[in-house]
Subunit: 216 residues, 2 copies
């Protein structure tokens, strides 16, 4: 059983990852989120949790990582806050989590990034260019962090049932992917060390996730 | 005569650097700025210029660097725009300039950063935490860029006459430094290769700039 700290567990993808891990024989999830009232969901689903604000001192993150085998970073400031939070959460909060993992000696780090995060030409058209800037530099930091990273870059996220099938060969040809399949991919990635040091751009596709991962 | 591209030349520090270089026997400045109407100042001061928006395609920056011996990056989105521009100018604009320098083969790169840009504990109290996040990650990128960099981190900037004297031993003990002395420091740095690969935190002090640099 791998102990996995899910940072941003109260997000839509985070909740699915937490519940899937709780139902799995491979993982013991620990949810990390910011607000006291967010604990109800995790108590109901019998998931351990820690309450930490990513804007607090990094020491709280280091402590939360004690005993963990891996970290999944799926936090995001979302569309309702300003771009100040894009800088302090999506960029600096992500990097603080990476630095905390370095300090705590937790090598395995999986981050949910975004399709086209390395493709400036797409940022302008997106309408959320500053968000891509933040994701791009968080990913850039991770690549040179020395951590055993995997960067997952799904396209547009949908609240529909997952198909369990994705494509990494031509992700931009598809509109997006179900949040459930992003969560499924996180679990598969953590079960396959061949994904270490890899960046996966993906969307809904025709190939079972495990098969895709076995071939990258 | 070193040809120096000054990115953000229309800023307060940028204008001083440009005019000091134009008056110097060591440098031929080329001012880079965004708006057509900003050219008047540089025409009056007999400084060559190129009009490029940092949000445009990186190719325009690469072209602007042709024939240059060094780049000084002193651009900033300023306090009148939103934090979206902090992400796209202070962070991504800075890094695009570094990448353009790599592509153009211009090795020498001097950036004006900010005191405490590596000190998260100071960011919270500053009231401009997102700005520090942007500067921190731009500097981080530069350090691993392979460029011959110097990172200058002055404290609060004042519009007063420079004294020609700074301190790097205890910069936080001083309130700040004259913009003129930041410009003076840029010129000295470009004349002394021993500053390559160095980060200088400084403020107004008691030691002549050249002496400070000869001892770092």
């Amino acid at each position: 059983m791998k102990n996995v700290l899910i940072i941003g567990a109260n997000g839509q993808v985070g909740k699915i990852i937490a519940t899937k891990m709780a139902a799995s024989a491979d993982f013991t999830p620990v949810a990390l989120f910011r607000k006291e009232k967010q604990k109800e969901f995790f108590e109901e689903h019998d998931v351990d949790y820690k309450i930490v604000d990513l804007e607090e001192d990094i020491e709280f993150l280091v402590n939360a990582m004690e005993g963990m085998d891996a970290v999944v970073f799926t936090a995001g400031s979302g569309g309702k806050t300003g771009y100040d939070k894009t800088l302090t959460i999506d960029l600096d909060g992500a990097v603080k989590s990476m630095e905390a993992a370095q300090t705590a000696g937790v090598k395995r780090f999986v981050v949910i990034s975004a399709l086209h995060a390395d493709n400036r030409e797409r940022w302008d058209k997106s309408g959320i260019k500053p968000y891509y800037v933040a994701k791009h530099y968080a990913d850039h930091f991770l690549k040179s962090s020395g951590l055993d990273y995997t960067i997952l870059r799904p396209g547009r996220l949908f609240n529909k049932q997952g198909t369990g099938k994705i494509t990494i060969t031509d992700p931009a040809s598809q509109e997006g992917v179900a949040r459930e399949d992003v969560a499924n991919t996180v679990l598969e990635v953590l079960n396959h060390d061949r994904t270490i040091g890899k960046t996966m751009e993906f969307n809904e596709g025709n190939t079972p996730i495990e098969e895709v991962i076995s071939e990258i």
